[in-house]
């Protein structure tokens, strides 16, 4: 009989935000924003190293990054950093035992104490705050 592992969905299962609630979605977003921010960080270090090429080299590079597309990418970076920060503080507090509730007898429907309304509010707040920060960033960059 062929071995069937029905529960193994791999990355597709991990990326599905509908089945496991907002906590799983936050877990996925935390990793995606982390990778995005690391890529931006490395690119930013390369970008700023152009200052060593003198005024002409710096201005040449600014012409590439200071464009509407560059501003949109920067706005996405702002959104990613705000979400990663706010959700990161939530995760840190959770690891420290803050806001995870008290242990109780497991009763149907077996909702974990840690996945309570406080953490859900924190996740939704992180999403709203990152959207607001992105809008502010766009206003600053396109307002000039």
């Amino acid at each position: 009989m062929a071995k069937v592992d029905e529960n193994k969905e791999g990355v597709k299962g991990m990326a599905n935000p509908t089945r496991y609630g907002i906590e799983r979605f936050a877990y996925l977003l935390m990793r995606l924003t982390g990778l995005g921010l690391l890529a931006y960080f490395v690119a930013h270090i390369y970008e700023t190293s152009n200052i060593l090429r003198g005024k002409v080299g710096w201005e040449e590079f600014l012409q590439i990054t200071q464009t509407p597309e560059g501003h949109i990418i920067l706005a996405i970076v702002i959104g990613m950093s705000v979400f990663h920060t706010v959700n990161g503080v939530r995760v840190m507090l959770g690891h420290g035992g803050i806001g995870v509730g008290k242990p109780t007898r497991p009763d149907y429907p077996y909702i974990p104490q840690s996945q309570n309304v406080r953490h859900k509010i924190a996740i939704y707040s992180a999403i709203v705050l990152s959207a607001l920060a992105m809008m502010y960033g766009l206003a600053v960059m396109f307002g000039e």
């Binding site: 990793r31 982390g34 270090i45 700023t48 950093s81 990161g88 600053v140 000039e144």
Partner: protein, 114 residues
């Protein structure tokens, strides 16, 4: 190093980075975003040693936090002694290279070698 200590470093570098990156962004906003990116303004920022020192600290903190985060993500995806060692040493090497390359920019600009 124990994983619990690594996570404490991860969280410590995160909190410190948030505070210092906020100062870094405020520098851009107080000057006006476009003006702050002008060549003379950027050079003046680097030559202001407390600010250059802060950039160096941000570089170290974010490199540690970022590459340790990458290590954690890669270890969540796959496990195994050889794989885990390669990921750990690969991330340490990438972190060191990033710090060296960024420090080169900060030191050369701060000490007027441009």
């Amino acid at each position: 190093m124990r994983e619990s200590l690594i996570m404490k470093i991860h969280y410590g570098t995160a909190l410190a980075s948030v505070a210092l990156v906020a100062v870094h962004i405020l520098f851009r906003l107080t000057q006006g975003f476009a003006e702050s990116l002008q060549y003379e303004s950027v050079i003046a920022n680097y030559k202001f040693l407390p600010y250059a020192g802060m950039l160096e600290i941000i570089l170290i903190l974010l490199s540690i936090h970022g590459f340790n985060g990458l290590r954690v993500i890669l270890l969540e995806l796959k496990q195994g002694t050889g794989y885990e060692k390669s990921v750990t040493y690969g991330c340490i090497a990438a972190m060191a290279l990033t710090i060296l390359y960024g420090s080169r920019t900060i030191f050369m600009t701060s000490f007027g070698m441009v």
